[in-house]
Symmetry: C2
Subunit: 401 residues, 2 copies
Amino acid sequence: MLSVTEARDRILALLAPTGSEIVTLAEAAGRVLAAPVVARLTQPPLDVSAMDGFALRAADATVGARLRIIGAAPAGHPFAGSVGAGEAVRLFTGSVVPSGADCIVIQEDTTFDDDVVILNAAGHPGKHVRGAGLDFTIGDVLLEPGRRLTARDIGLAAAANHPWLTVHRKPIIAVLATGDEIAMPGDPIPPGGIVSSNSHALAGFIRAVGGVPIILPIALDDRAAIATAAQAAARADLLITTGGASVGTHDLVQAGLADLGLDLDFWKIAMRPGKPLMFGRLGALPVLGLPGNPVSAMVCALLFGKPAIERLCGLPGDPPPSEPARCTIPLAANDQRADHLRATLTRDADGSWLVTPFGPQDSSLLRRLALADAVVLRAPYARAEPAGTVVDIIRLAACGL
Amino acid sequence: MLSVTEARDRILALLAPTGSEIVTLAEAAGRVLAAPVVARLTQPPLDVSAMDGFALRAADATVGARLRIIGAAPAGHPFAGSVGAGEAVRLFTGSVVPSGADCIVIQEDTTFDDDVVILNAAGHPGKHVRGAGLDFTIGDVLLEPGRRLTARDIGLAAAANHPWLTVHRKPIIAVLATGDEIAMPGDPIPPGGIVSSNSHALAGFIRAVGGVPIILPIALDDRAAIATAAQAAARADLLITTGGASVGTHDLVQAGLADLGLDLDFWKIAMRPGKPLMFGRLGALPVLGLPGNPVSAMVCALLFGKPAIERLCGLPGDPPPSEPARCTIPLAANDQRADHLRATLTRDADGSWLVTPFGPQDSSLLRRLALADAVVLRAPYARAEPAGTVVDIIRLAACGL
């Protein structure tokens, strides 16, 4: 059986970022940049005032100096003239420093009326001036390709005068749930059957990670039905199936896809929950087969689906971020499969994480998965640990799950 | 001047959650639940097998027993008959345990052909059986109102047979940027002017936090223009303005809104960046006036806008989550204003956060804000600290910024 890391590497090796498209700034938040954002202007464009105050000549900036106010320059209305000896121009935050002036005295350090300002403090050349280009200069590369754009990045791109940005196309992720026993919510449920939950959870997850989900109709446990359903995914960037990934008599996904020419890479990994994880290619279409069990499917989506979708989005496809937490209960020794214990989190008095795995870890407990905050990572053959041991966790909601 | 906490409390006191609407499961991820999700069925609906194996009578479950296989029950196809003495039915994960059987022996512990199974291990009643209702029982409250729905929650609601969910309506947040000096990206820029960035950054932020942004056309620095623009926001749940929130000669937002009957609550708080923060009401419309400076606007959006929008969404409106980090550089003593130092984060060898504030903290540096990972919280009058002190940080991208 493959390790989690090997399996992830083999999945990523077969995935390439989507092509690029142009979107408006408004659509670009959360998208992955496909071309650098280069400053189209210098910011600030000229020397501007950092405060409300008066622009004058440094030679005049002595305590008690009495200067004639020759004008004002509100932001957006630069003073057209020049500041001479004994003169001052009123400025506001962001006002362009007028020609002739090389010093600003802030309003709080003056006494003034409409015509005259008296300085109560000395000024120094350059003080309270934001020099042209303090933030950035035309031609600067402000944001590099491969970056997931934050709201702040959008502000920066706007300030650099970009109405449009070039980003990777959102990858289309087709989701195929299989099984004679499952029904869509609200539809008639077959005898002994259950309501399909994986597709809906995956759709939310795929959107959160940056993809566009397409939920294919449920395929019955029948090779031909599975093959037909999978063909509907031919134009997707990734097909994710749930259920039937193993090689049991009724695990027909592998068989159904084999009929279409599946190039199977692997179908079993050393982890829990979720041993039967399948990966391969149908022609150019990568296929990730998740277990049918909802908890296993979600944990595998986190460990493999997130990096896969992120790689398609133009990101590196790093493993989901883990961080340290102190475990409040003893941990049993682990067997040969990497384990992922569903757990709740609280903050310790010093702000660090305390993690408490649930007692029952049965992989059918969807309700407990929903109430979990994190999974605790347990390496293969990890030894038993007493309460208080620091372990690695992955926080679920922070990963879009 | 108000403290950050007082200001936040006064803002939240005037905000109420939006009403509710029905959305499909597919749309519900990330929305805030407005009615409980109650299980419409029991999961699993009957006793089911946790493994591939054979159902039989516990009395027959001895090593070496040789049982007649009378049928199979793949998931979704329950066995119609009853299991008698000396008989077994083949089961798969999720198969309903047939009537008469009270014991499962897993496939790995048997030798079998089409007709006969020989047990190589003893069985125990109830072992490998997932009892009816193990996950949840009809009538159970699975998800409480006021919860932001994760992808896992959507899966759970689906499994409980809900095609629709009742959630709070997304609040509509109107954004009004003001200033004679600003232009939209790609539009002609006035002399000495700059490109508007706040509206675009705020739009991305508002969406990330759960609201629907409406970007109003830029209003010139003119009381009448501001009043007209603000009237366009009358049907929003919140109006956010940027710029002109102070009482300077050219800070006309307060004046323009006063002409419409603004009920001003406060306009100045003890924080940096961002002293001129305004809050009030225009009739029923809450108005949050952010500073015009982009860095100040974003930090104020984080500290006040996020809780405000979350409260409108149906959440409590908690302060943005902070966590501990070790500061790599010495910190100067702080004055009377709470400070928010833009900083980068790395992980220490033990996985804990190391935070490094930027040297220049000038609030005009939008590029540095985009490159920042966090802000370091510095309380009013916080004393100087050596390098290595543990401080509180807020991670920006995790907060939708």
